[in-house]
Symmetry: C2
Subunit: 413 residues, 2 copies
């Protein structure tokens, strides 16, 4: 069955599908992330009247052509365990048709979508069967790094620090960006030394990541989702579960080696000494202790790894963080503690979509060429550039669901 013919959707689908160009996927162990571009001329025209695009960092508007396309870059995620919801969404939005890339052999009818992450392999057959599309697999590390580099170089106010409830945007000079350590916290954690575009090496990692938080959290509480567990942790107190230095030292500091009485001596260590069952602990306290244990450990290993390779900047990405204040604060405090203030943890506005953005960018060569050909716009043969000038911050500052979109213009470079 040709999936194009099967698309009989509602009117609203048809309206939207006309504007969709370009889709890329990053299917990880826990979450499937989508990035897709929607052209929306009317909207962009309206919005440009009200908010003329600001100068993108490091790119002077005066030096380039007017945009060849205006639209929005959209970010959306699904749980990998509910991959069928993701397929349904793609189908209902006709994303796979709007974003279709004609194969090099025009005789073939195969539609391909750029995809990365382990799921690009694992679910390749499912995408073929349900949507009739081939997943064009891009290497996961390539995509992560390409996505991070792109976001850091292009998007104004992409990077920020977070400590003690203070969020501070970091001005990135793209000539002074490299080298840096990219710590991607998904189900597991990958640590990548990045020295430039396409120049990187996976140098470390840990299996204690987002999957550990949610996996252990699911076994220890009645939470039904990662976000519920994360919300819960916000209200908890880890002292109920963790063994603090003061618990061992009878309330005293171990000051000789700089450990205060409130330092965690042993995560979950308090569950040893007391005659309690799991049910006797508050789930929020367990969630908090888990989050702190995992964030602190990632912060420590990240710092040690950065130190090993002489990297001063550590950028944390991945969907584990979800701009959650306590997670970021713990990571920051860990890096600060272990580096004695010499290293700084930095975060990314689009932390969860690095791989998906990278996969999206990897299709410059193919899909966007077509897109532009249809627009009949002159362009240099080098490459296209995206400029995202205005970030639509969700109304709730700490929006956890991670779906959002950015206004975005495509230029011929």
């Amino acid at each position: 069955m040709d999936p194009r013919k099967a698309e009989t959707g509602k009117k609203s689908d048809q309206i939207q599908s006309g504007h969709v160009y370009h889709l890329a996927l990053d299917i990880g162990g826990s979450l499937a992330k989508l990035v897709y571009f929607t052209k929306n001329d009317e909207h962009v025209v309206d919005s440009e009247k009200k908010n003329p695009p600001k100068k993108a960092l490091g790119i002077s508007n005066s030096n380039r052509n007017s945009p060849v396309l205006n639209g929005r870059l959209n970010f959306k995620k699904f749980e990998t365990s509910k991959i069928n919801d993701c397929l349904e969404f793609i189908k209902s939005m006709k994303l796979h048709l709007g974003g279709c890339q004609q194969p090099e052999n025009p005789g073939s009818q195969t539609i391909t979508i750029k995809a990365t992450g382990g799921g690009a392999y694992k679910y390749a057959d499912l995408f073929k069967e349900k949507l009739g599309v081939s997943l064009d697999k891009e290497d996961e590390m390539d995509c992560l790094v390409a996505g991070a580099n792109f976001l850091l170089e292009t998007i104004h106010q992409e990077a920020f620090t977070y400590m003690g409830d203070q969020k501070q945007f970091v001005c990135i000079d793209k000539n002074d960006l490299y080298p840096y350590l990219l710590v991607n916290i998904g189900s597991g954690v990958g640590m990548i030394k990045v020295e430039g575009d396409g120049k990187f090496e996976r140098v470390s990692g840990t299996s204690i990541g987002g999957g550990t938080f949610w996996g252990l959290g699911k076994l220890l509480t009645k939470c039904k989702s990662f976000d519920e567990l994360l919300d819960l942790s916000y209200r908890g107190n880890n002292r109920a579960v963790d063994m603090l230095v003061g618990d061992i030292y009878g309330g005293m500091d171990y000051s000789k080696i700089g450990l205060s009485s409130t330092t965690i001596a042993s995560s979950f260590g308090r569950a040893i000494s007391e005659n309690k069952e799991r049910e006797d602990y508050k789930p929020e306290d367990i969630a908090r202790s888990l989050l702190r244990m995992i964030s602190n450990n990632i912060g420590q290993i990240s710092y040690l790894t950065a130190l090993r390779f002489g990297l001063k900047r550590i950028f944390f990405g991945g969907f584990f963080i979800r701009r959650h204040p306590f997670t970021m604060d713990t990571l920051s405090v860990a890096v600060n503690f272990w580096s004695k203030g010499e290293a700084k943890a930095m975060f990314l506005q689009h932390e969860g979509f690095l791989g998906a953005v990278g996969a999206f960018m990897s299709s410059d060569k193919h899909g966007l060429k077509e897109l532009l050909a249809n627009q009949k716009v002159e362009r240099t043969p080098s490459k296209l550039s995206f400029s995202m000038d205005q970030i639509q911050v969700p109304q709730k500052d700490w929006e956890l669901n991670g779906d959002e979109s950015i206004e975005c213009s495509v230029y011929g470079a």
Copy 2:
């Protein structure tokens, strides 16, 4: 009430108490460790006839006097949460009387016992109240390092490597022992750079230690003790609970970065995707996954820390290990993996008693002087030396309860 007068014990107690000299304690967050010396002339004489003491490593018998005392050094542990059992044991054995040290002011009747660990502070009042003794607090790090140095320098076949079911004793040249990294895995984990006697610095640590294993294990299984949980882990399979690289990649390796399909991508990450409750997982699989997660993490941080300070040798101690083959193997594999074969994990026969042995040795200056004065033995004013020539290995090679004793001679140095 004078506790000496209260001691009316049974005949067997009286017989033993006559032989007890010298007691030291290390009271940690989870376990209280005792080291005490028992003089047993008849036994030693018999045993010397049969097994004349072997030359202690690095110490030539020909160059020194005959021993001033022969006996046994005994090792015993209790759960800190059952500290009263420990007090009862000390009382019944009259250890606190045999090991008494007269205070510097002879008018006072206070008996003191050397003690280290946080519990030396926390339980000081309890020891005073129940046994009428003062705990003479020694610094925890000082004791750990003194204990490790003493054991490594003095005891033949104290250190060994363990990988792939192969235990191999390491011959330690005490002139080439330093510097090394001492990783003490108790409830929490301390990492100490040791450069010589009394020359050391705590350089790192992690809160994910033995307390985390037992604390999380207690919440997740019905185990009643640390050892039960450890036994359980021996029969488990972590694949049921952990998300492996192959789970994400549909059974494939991620060979580009050297991750095989059986590498753990996310500890406990498999508990996410499946529609299961805690009760649906086998407790042995959970125990195994916990043990592997924690051991691997400690191995990784230890290696990164050793690398940072240019230390080639890493000795692991602390009661978490308990000579458990799987724990040692995981630590070894982690150090081997992260160092690409350049660093080696080493273990100590008396891993759990480093602090207690250190506290014991710290009383050389006081208690043993008296002991020797009573023996009317000439000695140089420098210090005493212990020689432990023969290790009584428990019948079960992997004895987990940790109580044992070593034949031991005391010499005037």
